[in-house]
Subunit: 406 residues, 2 copies
């Protein structure tokens, strides 16, 4: 259907790392210890609050696992759901052969993107988790950093060999100077995004409020190189939970919670004041809740000024920093789009979430067309691609890219 | 200023329990063990995430404490802020003499309500905490239940002797049959509200999803007697937190988090389907985030139907139950009011939050007038009083009450 609807730039998809990533890209001395894939039979697989459980059973369903140090990371159908009938998308084992190749193969991914009218895509990691936490959890810092650099090299050289694949790289959390160096190394070869934790304190790292400004070397490097700090829901390794017996629908509805808390953190942290060119982007957090938060944050800022403290960190109301430096994205959020004026038409992008169970693929164009029905074409253009083009510098990256001004 | 703006019914205020409450209303055999007030000097008072800390210091600022069993509950200026200049509203000790009498004296409260154009008010407890948690935490069940009944008797007989004071009573959490009996005892004398925990599992009690339907006797009694289940923010004894060093403004902005999570719980619990006449009301949670949640919940419900499970509990989309049985309230939320059509003009009420630091008293009428500017007078009437009159049955309670139809 060619009705002039813009070709989409999806700012939140996921790559299932192919088995060769670390075995090819790690320096040879680290390969034996590096992440690798093994297969075993598994039964009774479960997932409560992001923690997987299973029983080994050689005669049961085969599952491909990532092995790294003493941990095993199972692959499941919910993380590789693209193309599966809805009733097969469950927390159950999966092997690479059962997955749609677009999960792990960039050429197949590009073909799947084409099918759904998606021109470019930015993909978060899977096995190392959304902010690459696994490599900052190891006590062997040399190995951890080698794994981060190997992932980044594979991301840039192989996954993103075609410029329509937009690279997003990992940073080490234990050494912000080292992280800053890695940001600069990748920025020099065109990378404009890192994946960071929405709430690093949940992972045991200093918060962004840290009195010693632990993260500032990293934020300074990002601000200086135009690298966007992207934060995916769940990148604090914690999902909202009310009780162990709550149905999964409760968590699924409230899935934006930590993204919202992270936004509150950033708005009151002073980081956006200290680094006025730094940009941050939330992934899979949706947008319809943002106007409430901005109004409330401004109200709290106004009240707290009298008590002192906040005024030193934030000379302007929190919503000012949002407009200037924060981006949200959505996959299905009619209410958010109806209230775009209270969020900002320059601050919103669209995502496909391939190959997760929430993904709209292959109907992404139809979903986008329906969601944006009635909006001005120029606004639809911004949300579907223009804002992502600006934020991630894609005009320089993708030859012949159609842009609104062109 | 008499411009015809409706006299307000505030559905969320707070009573500071006067020192005599339990010493007068407990049966004599419990009085020695019952809650009582003592004064001591205190320095270095702090509050992190709702947990108070202080140092005893006879020569320092005097503080009135509630004593119950082996715990001490300090009184602070933030909980008794009415009439204090903004710069004096801090987490610091306070005594009864320093408080505005409207905090603890019903006649003085009525006079303060009059000043602010508030016709009727519903007040949550302070020292036992918002859902009366303190009395369900004691291991002496007889004492705990006696304290609950004493509070309820004082609430009905003394605090609410004037019908413009709307009673809200406590229930025991350890025995839902006993709780149901207490609901019926109070309903028989005109009580139409209980205070319940937004997330009982956070307090160690079964969740509302409990497979054995632990809470059903209580919910059945409330549905049968028209008693509203009111849930105040913080009534799960947990406030949202990102890190210990986050400025208070972060928590203050995100203060609706557990209210939002509770709503997700209730929408997917099946309780509102099982008890179609049961009404629940959220206090101090505001409303501007509700449309996003309803849209997302309906979307998740639609997706999850295919996986099974949810369809058995909820034949209709979650938003159906919201419209029929759930009420929100706000004190300052322009965005929520602009989107009233997506929440429901019959589902929203207003609150003053006297005597807390967020309270609009004594400017409540002006704030309300400004917030509702441009809304239809009939809608303003509903939000400011009509919905509360219906929900809490105030037409029968308050003689000569002006109502929209009258």
């Amino acid at each position: 259907m060619d009705d002039g609807f813009p070709r989409i730039i999806s700012v939140d998809d996921h790559v299932i790392e192919a088995p060769h990533v670390w075995q090819t890209y790690l320096p040879e001395r680290f390969r034996a210890e590096g992440p690798r894939v093994e297969r075993s039979g598994v039964s009774r697989m479960g997932n409560v609050g992001g923690v997987y459980s299973w029983e080994e059973d050689p005669s049961a369903t085969p599952c491909d696992f990532w092995l790294f140090e003493d941990r095993r990371y199972p692959m499941t159908r919910v993380m590789a759901a693209a193309g599966l009938p809805r009733e097969e998308v469950t927390v159950s084992p999966v092997t690479f052969e059962e997955m749609r190749p677009g999960c792990y193969d960039p050429a197949a991914r590009l073909a799947d993107m084409e099918t759904a009218g998606i021109e470019a895509s930015l993909s978060f990691p899977t096995f190392p988790r959304f902010a690459g936490q696994a490599f900052s959890e190891t006590n062997d810092r040399d190995l951890g950093f080698a794994c981060i650099q190997a992932y980044n090299d594979w991301m840039v050289e192989e996954w993103c060999a075609d410029p329509r694949m937009v690279p997003i790289t990992l940073v080490p959390f234990w050494d912000p100077q080292l992280a800053a160096g890695e940001v600069r190394r990748n920025a020099a070869r065109g990378v404009r995004a890192i994946t960071f934790s929405e709430i690093p304190a949940y992972l045991g790292w200093p918060s962004i409020h840290d009195v010693d400004r632990y993260w500032d070397p990293l934020f300074a490097a990002c601000a200086e190189t135009g690298v966007v700090v992207c934060m995916h829901i769940g990148s604090g390794s914690r999902m909202p939970s009310t009780s162990a017996d709550a149905p999964p629908a409760v968590q699924s509805t409230a899935t934006f919670t930590n993204c919202m808390l992270s936004l509150c953190d950033w708005l009151f942290s002073g980081v956006l004041e200290r680094y006025p060119t730094l940009k941050i982007a939330y992934s899979e957090g949706q947008i319809g809740w943002i106007p409430y938060i901005l109004e409330r944050a401004d109200h709290v800022w106004e009240s707290n000024r009298a008590w002192g403290g906040v005024a030193d960190l934030l000379p302007d109301p929190p919503s000012t920093y949002f407009s200037r430096q924060v981006f949200g994205c959505f996959f299905s959020d009619r209410f958010g789009l109806e209230n775009l004026a209270d969020i900002g038409e320059d601050n919103v992008m669209f995502e496909c979430d391939y190959p997760h169970s929430d993904s709209t693929w292959p109907d992404t164009q139809d979903v986008a067309r329906e969601l944006t029905f009635g909006l001005e074409p120029a606004v639809v253009e911004k949300i579907m691609r223009g804002n992502a083009i600006e934020l991630f510098g894609l005009r320089d990256r993708i030859p012949g890219l159609q842009t609104a001004g062109a």
